[in-house]
Symmetry: C2
Subunit: 566 residues, 2 copies
């Protein structure tokens, strides 16, 4: 592991990004709002949106080559825009053996470069991604179905925030030990024992990042950058339906690595057809020491059980619950929930699925509301939010894939229970081929076994359950049990009663899920802000890790000590 | 998880131990020498040794009851002093179900107490253990075979140091996030979004600490205290031959917990006969979320493969190597190595096993020494060190168990190869029944397949190999390969050549083992100092974790966030 040939760009990058890194390090301690990546599309120049569109259009129908990466010559394609446009991008395929060999060979110089150089290179990669946020927004929109505004924010600056947050955590963790320390142990009247000790961070090996269909960048960047910043080589394996955003990411990472004098094969792309098994093949390779995965519980559990040689970080399925006890802002609550359920057609891992409503009613500033009234008012709020097709399309985005559409269809057919609100087909003014559905709101009774079976399984997509429960106490217990048994990424509660609030907090601490209380304004239970909010906890079955904490980065490297007498 | 009933002792303990905690937190950053627990036996009072002996004697032949812990009424015994004295201590047995139920029930109050209270309680436990270091020394001596001086230091203050180090890491990790933070996000001309966010540490569940035969406290305390300090309940499962030191530990922990108003069943003891399978039964219980294990590779691998529900920290077997290239202090090198090989009869996981000596000879301040000369001189140094039985016994201690004795016998019979130094039976002046053997030094040739088979397997105990290698370069490569394939807890090197030193460092960084260079005085490759040296790296097959770093503590708890508008 000889020191890398010094490249003048590395020193320049360290200098260029020092302030951003310092501010990120301060932000993860203070947890106040901060970002270096503006979330307003207009911040990216007057022609930013048009330039991004043009760059995206130029990719359509092309072969997305990755210079210098091994390939067997085959091409893979298969992405399908939920907006109905033809993408036609194809990607070079590579064999697992060749990819692993390239990743392993690329690592020594990067491992020797040290935490500061690696952080700076990662920030440069993120900076270049940020500058192309409009292009990424198009790529995210047409692979995930997110509406443009959301694809821009969640797929662009917010994803970059999560990447930067991971770099900051990784950097902080790597510099907790001094590079060199003097140790002097008194020996009574004899001379003290004295040593010089050097501590060097060493990477674990090759990391595998397995991307998801809905948030390829937002859910992909934490693991990708945490592994890269700690000296590992990273193999990016996108979901077959959401390759482009990560292919662009890999290309930019390789470009920066090359310029900075490192081997671009530190970051490689593994693409396969839908239904392929390369992820499973790669996951059990002895060289693969870290796996970051977002997706189904089935494959997540398989990875945890089978990739024993690797540190496995998973985010899987869960059932998110909101308890409605009481509120001093009934309209605000309804509006907030309507938006939370509608945003990206309920296709966020953080979208509430079950709204628990006591049969005894919900106390509000407009008087006590019965279960039926709350359900009707919520249905009305959703209808109001999504009444206009253009506005509905901007909130809902499009249905990401046929599996989700099937659940919307099943809900419409009454398969999950009586409908309080039927899904509606929305026409996109811009994309006639888009598949857009409003959420279904299903009525359920916590005390009916069939209903429980329906609402206690994850029903990913635009289907929510308004669950009648005996009392607030029963609702809190059902929340606790749901989180423990099914897992959850989020929990919400509405109450003006201190005792109920305490019970909700206690249940969430006990079951291990983060709680949003009384959201009635512009913050939604499904959204978390990097540098401030944790995404997931790692304490319930929905995920075994959180974005981002010490545990997410600390095992991605080890420290080797060299000691000698001083 | 309601707040625990405030107990006045908790506030007092926080106050009492604050300075020690602060100094420990500073020490793990500076890595300079520090300890609050004096390692000189005389620091513990004029009658300390006699009092410890009396306390130990009072335990002999007794039933070691643990008040308030579940038991099925059966008693377990089976410890055998390597010094030949009759111990006759028996311990109450308990069923796994009952133990787990008690541990689970005990946790809520402890989980709610918070990091500061937990750290203070842990420091009080360590403080009381420290005050009884002479008693622990007897218990460690007569279960592990360590000589009294070593049993006192390594089993007492040094083990306590490692426990305190783990508490400090655990505390630091738990307070990285603020308890509460304000988050204010500008919204252009509109009012900013504003939230208050609370971050609460929650434990993972029940931790299982599986102790080893040779260092029950030193290897046991890091995991025990790391898990306890992060809010978990801890089940201590000692090695059947080394129960007493951990039984004493559990009793003291329970005493402090009770006084501080916590449920003593937060720390329970699981004892079984040798050959029992309770560790395996407990390890796969769903409630067990952390396992700390020191012992054989076989069971360590089994745990890693089967205890999927738990975070598993293992320290297993390894083959430690020292490369002898050149030295400016030949006598110092020989003396240092002779002591390193002899200390506790080579029964440390950190004892060098293979000394790689170039056939081209070792350059020294006394001229170039051939392989044969080095081997003969080293044999002479060992003989010199251990020539006197009383002194030999004080260095060697006793052979810990029949398995180790068997290897000494095998070495004596030439089973591992030609002997440069035959093991010698040493009589203990104090303990006629003690089993004491000097190390065997076996000659081996790196280029002979039979020899390689012998010296590349772990040969735990008083057997070392003087391995002839073609050149220093070949020695460095053999070191690298040995670490990668067999694992190692330590590596050593002697060289005055800068190029060789660089190559040694590069090989150790690459293979993931810490390196001690040119030790010729009072520091030995087998010894690491808490707060300064890492024990293990977690980067090679000998161990998947290190004492102590962020990775050792960060996954023992999770953080739950509660947010609301401020």
């Amino acid at each position: 592991m000889a020191a890398a040939t010094p490249n003048p760009l590395v020193a320049e990058l360290i200098d260029r990004h020092q302030e951003t890194l310092d501010r990120a390090l301060a932000a993860i301690e203070s947890r106040d709002y901060w970002t270096p990546y503006p979330e307003f599309p207009k911040a990216y120049g007057e022609t930013g949106a048009a330039d991004g569109q043009a760059a995206f259009d130029a990719l359509l129908g092309s072969v997305f080559r990755i210079e210098g990466q091994p390939t067997n010559g085959d091409l893979v394609s298969g992405e399908a825009s939920p907006y109905g446009i033809e993408l036609g991008v194809s990607y070079p395929h590579a064999e697992a053996d060749e990819l692993i060999a390239a990743l392993e060979a690329a690592r020594p110089g990067w491992a020797a470069a040290g935490p500061a150089a690696r952080a700076a290179v990662c920030l440069e990669i993120l900076g270049r991604i940020n500058a192309r946020s409009h292009e990424f927004a198009q790529a995210v929109m047409h692979t995930t179905g997110q509406a443009y505004g959301m694809a821009f924010q969640a797929g662009g600056p917010h994803a970059q925030d999560r990447g930067l947050e991971a770099v900051a955590y990784a950097y902080a963790e790597q510099v907790r030990l001094p590079k060199s320390a003097n140790w002097t142990k008194p020996q009574g009247k004899r001379d003290p024992l004295s040593m010089v000790k050097e501590f060097t961070v060493v990477p674990r090996g090759t990391a595998l990042m397995i991307g998801c269909n809905t948030f390829p960048t937002w859910n992909g960047y934490p693991g990708l950058f945490a592994s890269l910043a700690t000296g590992n080589s990273v193999l990016v394996k996108p979901h077959p339906r959401a390759v482009l955003p990560l292919a662009l990411t890999v290309r930019i990472a390789r470009e920066v690595l090359t310029e900075a004098g490192f081997d671009p094969n530190l970051v490689c792309l593994a693409v396969e057809h839908e239904g392929g098994t390369i992820a499973a093949t790669l996951a059990v390779r002895p060289e693969v020491k870290m796996i970051d995965y977002t997706g189904s519980t089935g494959f997540g559990d398989w990875l945890e059980d089978n990739a024993r040689q690797a540190q496995v970080y998973t985010e899987k399925a869960g059932v998110n619950t909101v308890v409605l006890d009481s509120t001093d802002n009934y309209r605000g609550m309804l509006g907030n929930l309507a938006f939370a359920l509608s945003l990206y057609s309920g296709q966020m891992c953080t979208t509430p699925q079950n709204l628990l409503i006591p049969r005894t009613g919900v106390r509000t500033d407009e008087g006590s509301k019965s279960y039926d009234e709350v359900v009707a008012d919520l249905a009305g709020a959703i209808d109001g939010l999504l009444g206009d097709d253009a506005r509905a399309a901007a909130v809902l985005g499009a249905v990401v894939n046929p599996g989700v559409l099937q659940r919307s269809v099943a809900a419409a057919g009454g398969e999950y229970g009586e409908l309080a609100l039927a899904p509606r087909v929305v026409a996109s003014p811009e994309f006639p081929g888009a598949t857009i559905r409003t959420p279904a709101l299903v009525k359920a009774d916590a005390d009916k076994p069939d209903d429980r079976t329906a609402f206690l399984g994850e029903c990913f997509g635009p289907v929510a359950f308004a669950v009648a429960v005996e009392s607030t106490e029963a609702a809190v217990e059902l929340l606790r049990r749901t989180v423990r048994e099914q897992g959850a990424m989020t929990a919400g509660g509405y109450t003006v009663d201190e005792g109920v609030e305490d019970a909700l907090v206690a249940a969430c601490l006990d079951a291990g899920v983060s709680l949003s209380l009384n959201l009635t304004g512009g913050v939604y239970v499904n959204q978390t802000a990097a540098f401030s909010d944790l995404h997931g906890t790692g304490a319930n079955p929905a995920a075994n890790a959180a974005y981002c904490d010490g545990a997410f980065v600390a095992s991605r490297f080890r420290t080797v000590e060299v000691r000698r007498h001083g």
